[in-house]
Symmetry: C2
Subunit: 340 residues, 2 copies
DNA sequence: GCTTGGCACTCCCACGGACAGAGTGCCAGT
DNA sequence: ACTGGCACTCTGTCCGTGGGAGTGCCAAGC
């Protein structure tokens, strides 16, 4: 059975009212608050159908209706109109982001801004190394047998690692190493580097091969394996808005999930399409986040995407507003990155 | 009036029982659970005195007694015996901390470890730049008019900033800049650098003075002004243990406070004495943390202190255990840093 | 003078019934 | 196909009650 226009309209009204009041919505108050042009009884019939189709449900017999995950999904996909940002919000975004001095700063400001505007928990992924290229590799002698390896990516990320050398290496050799490493790797996408690093070792004169091998292993770790992704988080206090009613009684599972970087990355990390992605309740595929929704999108300079950002809140959230804000912030951040 | 030994013993018993059960403790159950050698009536008399002195209070007439902040304070200062760590805990600490590859890693592992062992919220401050010395300054040309300044501190911290130069600077000049900057600043405590940086500009030949001035201002920002302190946080989910009963009904103020780096630094940052510090309830001087206690201490290689770490939990916490754990973790981290 | 048992009193809290309110489902009528 | 009417159901709340825990005080005992 397909839903006619009025039924969809009823669903939209239910979602909107429930999001606003946080209370199950009944047929009578619905017709009072919206110009549906029909009587409560008619609405009740529509509701019965919507319930049968799984879009809404009753917390208990003879209570109002509440949207299900499927209901929110339908709402997001077909019923919600984009809600343009207010000028005040636009200004807030601009004011917040100008004056950022480095990548850390940009990310921190962004995540706070996002949390503040959406009044939800915000997550911003640092530009992914996998999507970055090597701009420069620096080797700084710390002692005769120790180097600090500093990798500067084109996205602004800087990673450093300590390299323990097998034996003392004179300064001139370090200069030579630096030159060779940069010639080979600078400008390359990080994901393309592993064979090149191997090549560096192979091409090395036997005398310095041990040193290079050592450096190479740290390079591989830094470039691909470890600490691949970083994130920033803000706005956890927003979880307490609306009492403990959202999140079925306890914040614990949500807070636990927020501490797991792996989980967060899964949530905001799927960057294939440059679309804004909305995951509602169970769609997150994470038990702890059954009653949470995530709105995320990719960001990056121009059309390329270097990382993800998004917000997490109760399934009962203002989707149109949140989606608009997330998109807008992502675009501003992208522009900001493009300037560097 | 001074409290005799038995009254103190009663206070200790009240604190211990209350911490364990989270319920107001009455005279009868007290004598049952502890070998006080007196009758409930006697204990009641003692309790009346303790209440008069402000160490305990009744949530309502004819309920049991609950320690006040002052009561906890007395308990911590005079009544609690150190609770040695279990071998399992020691092993956990060691296992957790070996294998850390860089400073970021050390800090992250530490904060998670601390949260796990104490089952509270853990905070670890990165080694303070103010207490670090410059190990090396690196200048990496990004383009002809842009340099990346990388500062490596002896504590392992690495900070980077982009420098926009007033005009193009050839590679040789960068080498020269790097040499001069390092000669002047390497080995210096960061807090001593500002006059030296000024000196660098003054000594500069007029031709390159503009460049140097530009670099100097970024140097100053990096070294002293900005992003001075960083922190890591873990275990917020532990706030939900014991229901919402701790923290008078809502986590919101606590979560809010935890988002403010400034506040956290105040809490764990007072590093003057190398003692472990305990702040109970109002002693925090922060309204949002009325019902929270903070146990913190400094850490660093050997006897020096480079940063603070600690945990935050309900005033109703296991002080002896927490203090022991915080101390032990700080010591292990210090040892770890000393190895580098 | 400290300690103790006894006792009356207070207050919380959990339980249970009654009740109003909101909302539904169904049915007959238009 | 929509509507008004009606009976029904369920919740949340209010209130009164009783049990229980704990206290404060007092008079007696060591």
């Amino acid at each position: 059975m397909s839903l006619d226009d009025r039924k969809l309209e009823v669903l939209r009204a239910i979602v909107e009212d429930y999001v606003e009041t946080q209370e199950p919505v009944g047929s009578k108050s619905l017709v009072e608050r919206h110009q549906l042009g029909v009587s409560p009884a008619t609405v009740r019939n529509d509701m019965a159908v919507l319930e049968e189709e799984g879009y809404i449900r009753q917390p208990h017999t003879s209570a109002g209706r509440v949207p299900t995950d499927a209901g929110y999904r339908l709402f997001v996909d077909r019923l919600s109109k984009v809600k343009p940002l207010t000028p005040a919000e636009r200004r807030a975004i601009e004011r917040f982001l100008i004056g950022a001095v480095d990548l850390d700063d940009v990310v921190h400001r962004t995540v706070r801004l996002l949390a503040q505007l959406t009044r939800q928990v915000a997550v911003v992924q640092y530009p992914s190394l996998a999507r970055s290229s090597v701009r420069h590799l620096e080797l700084v002698p710390i002692s005769t047998t120790r180097l600090m390896l500093v990798m500067i990516a084109d996205t602004g990320r800087v990673e450093q690692r300590l390299v323990e050398l097998p034996g003392p290496v004179p300064a001139d050799d370090v200069t030579d190493l630096r030159r060779r490493v940069n010639e080979k790797l600078a400008g390359q996408r990080l994901s393309d580097t592993p064979p090149l690093v191997q090549g560096l070792v192979d091409e090395c004169a036997p005398g310095s091969r041990a040193t290079m091998a050592c450096l190479a292993s740290v390079l591989l770790e830094t470039l691909v394996e470890r600490s691949e992704e970083r994130l920033a988080l803000a706005g956890t206090a927003n979880l307490t808005r609306g009492g403990v009613l959202d999140f079925q009684g306890t914040l614990r599972p949500v807070l636990e999930a927020l501490e797991e970087e792996v989980i967060l990355l899964k949530l905001i990390g799927d960057l294939e399409p440059s679309m804004t992605r909305v995951r509602i309740g169970d769609e997150n595929k994470i038990d702890n986040l059954r009653s949470a929704s995530v709105v995320s999108t990719g960001y990056g300079p121009g059309a390329t995407i270097v990382g993800g950002l998004g917000v997490l809140g109760p399934t009962r959230m203002d989707y149109p507003g949140t989606i608009a804000t997330v998109r807008a912030v992502a675009r501003y951040v992208g522009d900001l990155l493009a300037q560097n």
